[in-house]
Amino acid sequence: MAEPMTAMPASPQPRQRRRLVRDLKAMPGFTATAWLCIVTLYLPILVLIAFSFNENRSVVLWTGFSLDWYAKALENDGIRNAAWVSVKVALFATVISTIAATMAALATTRTKPFIGQGLVYGIINQPLMIPEIVTAIATLSLFALVKKLTGLNGIGYLMLAHAAFCIPFAYMPIRARLETMTLTLEQAAADLYAPPLKVFTLVTLPLLGPGIVAGAMLAFVVSLDDVIITLMIAGPGETTLPIYILGAIRRGITPEINAVSTILVAVSVLLVMLLFIVQRRMQR
């Protein structure tokens, strides 16, 4: 213990001062800097959301509140089709990438250390470091070759491309979860007569659950947001929501686009909140 128990009854002043020095909040300009950061981060999004409720067609001139643009956006077949494509692709990519990431995470943490383990870890994470445009062009060339050889077409290519780039995103939280899970629980299960498969289904998997959910949600959001790779791979009739928005703003920003974007933001916020709750449970 730092201070003896026999210390004088009330000498709060020096102690308080010491605590203030350690406290970052006491740094001059701390509050101002914090607010500046938050405003910079969220002001654009707030403006976007505000003008999605604008009565007028303008996105710079506020005239009154209305929900017309949301109605319009939801009635727009182009937007509805794009949203459906986005969800389809994201769901497929999430399922495939989460399964692959879970297996990869297990293989890199729950096996005997093997030569090249670090390399495997690097290889799984490397796509995060490669510029997305490079991945996009590489995928495009590969798919062009496959198309030529097989003659197959369709949305499957887009789904596979998404599944591939989502793997590292899904892998990270799953691996993080596995690393904090000590082997002791699995050993305890084995000690209590659980054969390896039961250990996995009754102990490893339930405990890994929060990590898998976090990985899946991250993969879903990343797939939903993707522009560059989708732009390269998507064929006719495979327009996702971000691509539709990109096309639409070439013809000028309308509050309709603001409304669609706001819906996207809402979905993302919802997922992030879910992720947060799941991670809170993980820490227990």
Binding site: T182, T184, Q187, A188, Y193, P195, K198, V203, R284
Partner: protein, 368 residues
């Protein structure tokens, strides 16, 4: 009765033969366990005692099956289990950090082993209830394990490991995380639980007092080797190694030379020239330079008119209620501690005074 005598008339529950475990390879290899020979008997409370890194936990993990030995074999009631995975060994473990399943209730935790053994639901329920009663946690059956206190978690871990009625129960420093008072209570509870169930307990600890209190027999380990196996009294009164003598309780160690021997008695000339008679251990040197050991409570102050075995200058007096320790510096530079029951006359015994000490001859040991 010595440890070996017990071994002769009871069957071994767990036997280790030439058991070695090496971690790592080549220059980085660490020998955690070095040719261990061990027989743990049926219905015995057996303790593996030693400092951290002595290999006691490795030995426990080898018995549980979490590690495979580099060499040697392990058998359970005469059957070789060396290559059996943990889930095929009728041995259960109480882990140091309890390792309770956080996603299951207390009752589900306790019933897990029976469920894996494919027991009928009714039996699982019945045994779980019996176990809950045994560890006095009936009211907690439906709780999540993270809602329990450390002591309660400890009991759940114990109940979970006992529920499948294992042949051997392994306990890996299960009391280390508890506070002193709770630990003392649990020591007694564990001991009576062992007597009640008749299951062989193998208990790992670095706490010598815990080992002495609870065990039928103790194996003292150091650097991957077992130095001495015996009853608490064997270990305390008749330590064979300097390390054992030093590790368990307080001890005075003096250097000397063996003058002559008679049976298991040796006459040793201490460095200051005084002669003492000391017991020889089975592997003690019978000639030349040796170390002799005697507990502080077996050294007493010489009263007036008595011829002291040793004399020295009093350096320190440490009073701790039930006894007083007097630290004497001998002419040879060696230190010896006298444990005097109760307080001493402070007027007579003051630092700097020359004091005579008497070593009780029958309690002096020659170390190996």
């Amino acid at each position: 009765m010595t440890g070996t005598e017990i071994a002769r008339d009871r069957k071994a529950a767990v036997s280790a033969r030439a058991l070695s475990k090496t971690f790592g390879q080549g220059d980085y290899a660490i020998t955690a366990l070095d040719s261990v020979e061990l027989d743990i008997l049926e219905n015995e409370f057996f303790t593996l005692l030693g400092p951290s890194g002595c290999g006691k936990t490795t030995l426990l993990r080898l018995i549980a099956g979490f590690e495979l030995p580099t060499q040697g074999s392990i058998s359970l009631q005469g059957q070789d289990i060396t290559d059996k995975p943990p889930h095929r060994r009728p041995i259960n473990t109480v882990f140091q950090n309890y390792a309770l399943f956080p996603h299951m209730t207390v009752a589900e935790n306790i019933g897990f082993g029976l469920r894996m053994l494919g027991k009928p639901t009714a039996e699982i329920k019945q045994t779980t209830e019996r176990m809950l009663a045994l560890v006095q946690l009936e009211a907690m059956a439906g709780r999540r394990t993270d809602q329990l206190s450390g002591g309660q978690q400890q009991r759940v871990a114990l109940a979970r490991a006992l529920a499948p009625a294992p042949k051997v129960l392994l306990l890996d420093e299960p009391l280390a995380a508890l506070d002193l008072k709770l630990r003392k209570n649990m020591q007694l509870e564990l001991k009576s639980l062992q007597a009640e169930t008749g299951i062989t307990f193998v208990f790992v600890t670095h706490d010598q007092e815990e080992a002495l209190t609870m065990s039928d027999r103790i194996a003292v380990m150091k650097s991957g080797k077992i130095l001495q196996i015996g009853t608490p009294r064997d270990i305390y009164d008749r330590p064979t190694h300097r390390f054992v003598a030093d590790f368990i309780g307080d001890i005075n160690i003096l250097e000397g030379t063996v003058e002559h021997t008679d049976g298991d008695l040796a006459t040793v000339r201490l460095k200051d020239g005084s002669m003492v008679s000391a017991h020889l251990g089975p592997a003690s040197a019978r000639s030349g330079d040796v170390s002799v050991a005697i507990r502080p409570e077996n050294v007493r102050l010489a009263s007036a008119g008595e011829t002291p075995t040793l004399t020295g200058v009093l350096e320190n007096i440490v009073y701790f209620g039930a006894a007083t320790n007097l630290h004497l510096r001998l002419g040879t530079g060696e230190e010896i501690v006298i444990r005097n029951p109760g307080a001493v006359d402070e007027g007579r015994y003051q630092p700097g005074a020359t004091i005579g000490a008497i070593l009780q001859p029958e309690l002096i040991r020659v170390l190996e």
